[in-house]
């Protein structure tokens, strides 16, 4: 049977990287169909149709689905679920909101945050903040799955799938969208960036966090933060890397003033190269870092920024 992928949308635009990684996880399981549901989402449907390995895009252009509200989108997915054995989405906050609802309506267990597909019923997923990896086999007829994007390579955008416009009579009466407060940024998105520079409690204040941002901008990197830095108000919530924040796996991860609590390590341990800068030589982050510098971050970070300015220009 075919696989249904719930496209990750940002407004009415396709979040291509996240969706392409979900397609990558799904392509071994059957013919891949992608569902785009939002107002004015024909552009998103066209982007999804280009993803290699996608056989068909279902596009439903309706304001009911416009703000990613879980109740109508879950009803929509359930309404077309007969044709699918697997229902898959990237493990973003948006899909984490919707998929368990879909699973419960179908009376199946949701399988969240998978890091590997073993076969069509069997998947690997991290538990205990990534301190253990569990292999689970589903006995349900339908499998509802979210995919940890850091573990899958995005498929190329070289396909040309058909787009089928569909309709639904679904209405939304349980909840109402009021406002989104999303900061605009020129930096790459945290979960898909090639490099990430993160600051922790050691950075000391939100004004000093500018130093982290400066280094990130020099590297063309996204900016992340530890939970301690977010809780202290140095950085906004959506920068948090860790078990309960975002999981990243860039080519280069620079941890500045981050001690390396297991909850943080869970969010970045699969990065290719990890650099740690910390005053405490015994900080646990050094046990995971490829390269560490023990010292005052207020001296090292500006020097490093300066050095990259020289070598990268």
């Amino acid at each position: 049977m075919a696989v249904l992928i719930l496209a990750e949308l940002n407004g009415n635009q396709l979040s291509e990287d996240a969706t392409a990684k979900a397609v990558s996880a799904a392509k071994e399981l059957g013919e891949v169909h992608v569902l785009c549901a939002s107002s004015d989402c024909s552009g998103a449907a066209q982007s999804a149709a280009k993803l290699s390995g996608v056989a068909k895009v279902l596009c439903i252009d309706s304001g009911v689905f416009g703000n990613g509200m879980a109740e109508p989108i879950a009803d929509l997915v359930v309404s077309i679920s007969d044709d699918y054995e697997h229902i898959i989405a990237p493990a973003t906050n948006s899909a984490k909101n919707i998929l368990p609802r879909v699973a419960a309506l179908l009376d199946v267990m949701v399988i969240t945050d998978i890091t590997a597909v073993v076969n069509s019923n069997t998947f690997e997923r991290p538990i205990y903040a990534g301190n253990a990896i569990q292999t689970v086999e589903s006995s349900d007829q339908k499998k509802v799955i979210s995919v940890r994007t850091a573990n899958f390579e995005a498929v190329a955008a070289s396909g040309n799938a058909n787009i089928e416009n569909i309709n639904s009579g679904i209405v939304s009466s349980l909840s109402e969208w009021m406002e989104d407060k999303v900061a605009a940024s020129d930096r790459p998105e945290l979960t898909s960036a090639g490099a990430v520079v993160s600051g922790g409690r050691g950075v000391g204040s939100d004004t000093d966090f500018a130093m982290i941002e400066k280094l990130a901008d020099k590297l063309g990197a996204a900016v992340g933060a530890s939970r301690a830095a977010v809780d202290s108000g140095y950085a906004p919530n959506d920068w948090q890397v860790g078990q309960t924040g975002k999981v990243v796996a860039p080519d280069l991860y620079v941890a500045v003033g981050i001690s390396g609590a297991i909850q943080h390590l869970a969010g970045m341990r699969t990065s290719k190269v990890i650099v740690a800068i910390n005053t405490d030589p015994d900080a646990p982050i050094f046990t995971k870092a490829d390269y560490g510098i023990v010292g005052d971050l207020f001296k090292i970070v500006p020097l490093l920024t300066e050095e990259f300015k020289k070598t990268l220009s």
Partner: protein
Amino acid sequence: MKVLVPVKRVIDYNVKVRVKADGAGVDLANVKMSMNPFDEIAVEEAIRLKEAGKVDEVVVVSIGVEKAQETLRTALAMGADRAILVVATDDVHNDIEPLAVAKILKKIVEKEEPGIVICGKQAIDNDLNATGQMLSALLGWSQATFASELSIEGDKAIVTREVDGGLQTIKVNLPSVVTVDLRLNEPRYASLPNIMKAKKKPLDVVNAEDLGVDVSPRLKIKNTGEPEARAAGIKVGSVDELVEKLKEMGAV
């Protein structure tokens, strides 16, 4: 209005997890167990709603082994009024899946008729992040997940949610299921007098079978292993050396 708060007994946040060598799971025998940290935030929020006069009663419920009584007592000591324990297994290693938990909670909700259910967004053991959404679906209620702000206004709740790029505010019809994120509040510590008082608060015990819910798992755990180890690297002496190494590796 009544608020229902499900709480889970999990391995303590600070305990180092030990994976059993035979792949059978994580060793939970003789390790410190505590209330799931997200559930503490949910209990705190419920108590604050009561203190603000928005709700009249805070009922906490836990599903699992008999020892989850301790977790319920903690919630009572924080300020919850009453507790319900649903005994669903006698083995602490037998984690009841969110779908079964949601079905049990649905039965409790039908009996207790709360105006709102507030729960943690995920448990730090299985990290599934599913129970609240599943319960909401089974009840046909609205849902507001990952809340960082919650206010009740008449028959609606206004919830600010942590979403991928920032924050989102939604208005949901009550009754509703709200799941809480880290930054909603800072849970209080129970004082000694309140811990003593909590021992006298009502705690009902029921069995999952008596509620007519099948708790057998849908997911068979084939193996539990250690994550791939990451070897510690080297400490470099200077920024120049670091930049050189990164260039050698092609990382910049």
